[in-house]
């Protein structure tokens, strides 16, 4: 006989934990299933950051260090966080020859600190541990080490099979991430547009890397595309290679940067590699109505790519409350959770669901196959004043796009051959996108 609950939550990341916690606080019986044994331990590469004090998806996060809380004034809830943290002041982009595009005034950052931060790097383990503790105190039954093997609707409830253990709930909240098995088992991936398989490899380094403290850096070298950022722990850096081509050797790519690159390898001299983390993300178009057979799909499981910790927490909070209302109203159907579905459509799907990052998000050497290192240096050096600081990637893309749009006449004048190459790249966006799709492995 399956164990019976008001709701079963699949996946104990920020979205799932927040949903389970909210439902338990509202007085309902909840089972939380997670395939990892050590729930809070992070085994997947992650930016480890949370944007604060600026809008993202039309919502805000404030951080109150005194009360040890993240506050979400748009939606009206807060999340406890008593882990370590460090300020983030914005992005910086480096060309092969170390020319830099700055987002944010880094002298100001040094002087004014907290006042001008746009994010903080956190310990995601501390965030998840805090939420897990709240779940357990609230009476959530937590089941670690459970792989989802089957899910089906039977009469008015959903039956979840996890490695042979059966769980039954009036509703299921699926929060199992960007490559969600729940979504796949429900057959919902077949209606989504597949855009590629993106792979990330991150080395954790200990030492002293000469980047601005609190900077989130993107680097384009002759051999690859990388992200480099410091963490909440002083002297600990993450450096990641990413590529949408599964044939690319990410380990070799990181070796190229850290040990061989004539411009950047000196930065890492004396660094010790302490850990390797990685992840694989299948990029699929978002789900317009993330509900089927009494399963409500939230967070990355219903989105295009990796959302953000902030949006995951908002999704979990809203889903927990929407399912609460459905249970109170005894509406065990789509109508019951319409408060979530409308909120999702109005705040996420409609305004942001069709945003195309373009093939440049694939990293690797796409940009380098069109432009030489010298040309990339030239393009980076054209932006000689800092652009506004942001952690919002929509703003980042738009700001950078408009900055270059203004520079086009100058580029056309000074370097017409570079302008031709930029046009060629632009004209081949669809073709590049198609080759990324073809190289990937859709989990339909």
């Amino acid at each position: 006989m399956p164990k019976r609950y008001d709701a079963v939550v699949i996946g104990a990341g920020p979205a799932g934990l927040m949903a389970a916690k909210t439902l338990a606080e509202n007085g309902f019986a909840v089972a939380l299933l997670e395939r990892k044994q050590s729930i809070a331990r992070i085994r997947r590469a992650d930016g480890g950051a949370i944007g604060i004090n600026e809008y993202l998806y039309d919502r805000l996060v404030l951080f109150n260090a005194h009360h040890k809380k993240f506050c979400f004034p748009v939606d009206g809830f807060s999340v406890p966080y008593d882990g370590p943290y460090a300020n983030i002041y914005g992005f910086q982009m480096y060309s092969p020859g170390k020319k830099r595009i700055l987002f944010g005034d880094w002298e100001e950052a040094k002087r004014r600190g907290d006042e001008v931060r746009v994010g903080i790097s956190i310990s995601k383990e501390a965030l998840l541990s805090g939420l897990l503790e709240d779940c357990r105190c609230g009476g959530v039954e937590v089941f670690p080490g459970i792989n989802l093997t089957d899910i089906r609707k039977i009469r008015d409830s959903v039956l979840v099979n996890g490695d042979g253990q059966l769980f039954e709930g009036s509703f299921v909240i699926a929060a199992d991430g960007v490559n969600s098995r729940t979504v796949r088992l429900l057959g919902l991936n077949t209606g989504r547009k597949f855009k590629g398989t993106y792979r990330y490899l991150t080395w954790m380094l200990k030492g002293a890397v000469p980047v601005d403290p609190g900077s989130f850096n993107f680097m384009v070298t002759e051999k690859g595309t990388y992200a480099l950022y410091d963490t909440y722990e002083q002297g600990v850096y993450h450096v990641s290679a990413f590529n949408s081509d599964p044939a690319a050797d990410l380990n070799e790519s990181l070796h190229d940067l850290v040990y061989k690159d004539k411009t950047y390898a000196p930065w890492f001299a004396g660094c010790a590699r302490t850990e390797i983390i990685n992840c694989v993300s299948n990029i699929l178009s978002p789900i317009e109505v993330p509900f089927k057979d009494n399963v409500l799909i939230i967070g990355d499981a219903a989105w295009i790519m990796e959302f953000s910790n902030m949006a995951a927490l908002c999704n979990g909070w809203k889903a927990g409350n929407a399912v609460t209302l459905a249970l109170m109203d005894r509406k065990y159907n789509k109508e019951g959770v319409k408060s979530y579905l409308e909120w999702w459509k109005n705040n996420f799907y409609s305004p942001y669901g069709r945003f195309e990052f373009g093939p440049m998000g694939g990293g690797g050497t796409i940009l380098q196959s069109y432009l030489s290192s010298e040309e990339l240096d030239y393009l980076a050096s054209l932006i000689d004043k800092p652009l506004p600081a942001t952690m919002n990637f929509f703003t980042l893309f738009n700001t950078l796009g408009s900055a270059y749009a203004e520079l086009f006449p100058r580029i056309y004048d000074e370097r017409p051959e570079v302008m031709d190459k930029l046009f060629a790249l632009r004209n081949r966006f669809d073709e590049i996108g198609e080759s990324i799709r073809r190289a990937g492995f859709p989990n339909l």
């Binding site: 044994q37 792989n147 991430g177 398989t197 990410l250 992840c279 694989v280 492995f441």
Partner: protein, 58 residues
């Protein structure tokens, strides 16, 4: 058959998610291939950023 080099595997779960026949699962935080289900398509081998899955002849 396909085996996982547990010394290399970081437990990110990418192969579990992308396996077309759901032959891979996480048991006690270790990734395990069920070779009764596995069709040796090789996607896990290609997709793993640290090259932990390996095809071997038996």
């Amino acid at each position: 058959m396909v085996t996982i080099d547990t010394a290399k595997c970081t437990g990110c779960g990418g192969c579990i998610d992308l396996c077309p026949v759901i032959a891979i699962s996480m048991i006690s935080d270790v990734v395990i291939v069920d070779n009764k289900i596995c069709t040796e398509c090789g996607i896990c081998v290609k997709v793993c950023p640290v090259r932990a899955p390996q095809k071997t002849d038996t």
